[in-house]
Symmetry: C2
Subunit: 281 residues, 2 copies
């Protein structure tokens, strides 16, 4: 039975959504946060996004081992029919933590979407577990995910592909490797299609930790919130596919470690810091 999530449900577990290239050698702020939420020392590393998952398990076993998580097991499937195998499902029993590594987000959803594994992941989350994802594993968290779109260029009307994601965090679109790959243009393009959806761009070695309708930022980079709720004009519906996007009155928040954000009110809410400044102009 799938539990329907709202915009940040409030009753579920924790999502840790990482912009890729989380630190494995230094302070490991992000992996430590994941480890903090792991119960019973068991975590499943879902490498299903990758065409060549060799080496991932060893890397994460080493990192999480250092952080007091002795049992890291791999969930990998090559073909969709394996997503029903009792073997694969067994690996998810009695586990409260799943970590989706990088690769291609369409592999994640096309291989496990609407399958028993997918339901298991939702159940782990609904029962208070932690679901983490980095890079492609981050993009797959939302209802709709970006699957293609130019980096480092302004958005062209025809230049975007989206696909249904895992649906763990509704009403948002997540993009990763964000500043590093110059992706603001494509995220603006995505939210302009329907301002109901909030754009969340996450830098490398940076993550949002979502509980209920609130998240906090950890890591060394920034998180960009693109809110098209108050836009007054866009040419997205009228212009030809090769034209550049035009959009007026976007709201943009840039958050860094220590900042929080309320997904219901769409407002930053830095704890213990007054969120007001005199207008300087």
């Amino acid at each position: 039975m799938l539990k329907k999530t709202k915009t940040g449900s409030g009753q579920d577990g924790t999502l840790i959504i990482i912009g890729g290239h989380e630190d494995h050698d230094g302070e490991r702020v992000i992996l430590k946060e994941v480890a903090k939420h792991v119960r019973d020392g068991k975590l499943v590393l879902a490498t299903v996004a990758s065409h060549e998952p060799e080496g991932y398990l060893e890397k994460y076993q080493r990192s999480f081992g250092d952080l007091g998580i002795p049992h890291v097991t791999e969930l990998y499937i090559e073909e969709r029919d394996q997503a029903t195998s009792e073997d694969k499902l067994a690996g998810l029993r009695d586990v409260g933590a799943v970590f989706f590594s990088g690769g291609d987000q369409l592999r994640i959803t096309s291989l496990i979407g609407d399958m028993p594994i997918y339901e298991h992941v939702h159940e782990i989350f609904a029962n208070g577990g932690v679901i983490a994802g980095t890079s492609a594993g981050a993009s797959a968290m939302s209802d709709m995910m970006l699957v293609r779109g130019s980096n480092a260029s302004s958005f062209r009307i025809g230049d975007l592909s989206m696909a249904p994601g895992l649906g763990l965090l509704p009403n948002v679109i997540i993009d990763q490797h964000f500043a590093e790959r110059g992706r603001i243009g494509r995220l603006i393009g995505a939210v302009s299609q329907n301002p109901r959806v909030l754009g969340i761009g996450i830098d490398e070695d940076t993550a949002i930790v979502v509980r209920g309708h609130r998240f906090e930022v950890i890591g060394t980079g920034a998180v960009y919130l693109v809110d098209a709720g108050d836009i007054t004009h866009t040419n997205i519906a009228e212009a030809s596919p090769d034209e550049a996007l035009s959009i007026y009155d976007l709201k943009l928040h840039v958050l860094s470690s220590g900042d929080g954000f309320n997904l219901e009110t769409r407002r930053p809410d830095r704890e213990n810091v007054a969120v007001s400044l005199e207008k300087t102009s």
Copy 2:
């Protein structure tokens, strides 16, 4: 005598500010616009930004020649003392059009700043001429210009250098090669230091044509307006130099060809198009 410009003066000439790599082979929308403003068929190409200006003159002579501008002459100086030479100054007499090509914006300002050549450029502008600039030549147009700052990364508090520009367009900071080099982070960093200043990021093969306090966008890319006038929080003054910037409630407009913008009201003002949409959320 230097004429003091206001935010878009209303009485002056035309500025054509180009994000670099303007088209020289296809429709040449931007160079055509420059040519439209050239009086008497004479244009001075100021290659002073470049360490190696070889080839620039021939390229622009060819392009402008095709567009009906037979007289393109070069203004190049190697050392500051040449900026007073009667030779160099003579080249600017009876000319209504100067085009600053790319290179290093600090070369432009350090070589001609506060020199007779600089005053001549201002006079040409004040007398209704056209001053165009591409890439470094675009950055140099404003009061303050960005001279360093990481591309394709989120802004770190300590990671920015600014310098005084030519002052032809006050109260703005211009960045170029904008989406192509992932520069939104550094432009946000620049405006966060003083929200009085409006950030203008211009893509390659894209330009703004400024007359008075209004500009219009031409070319194939987009122009990003970053307005920090209503920000409610930033950590720019408190955080340590290697920390990522945090800034709430930025306003962002993305404009493309046909869009206009009023620098006084800081509002897009697309001519002949209703600038309103029902809020969708």
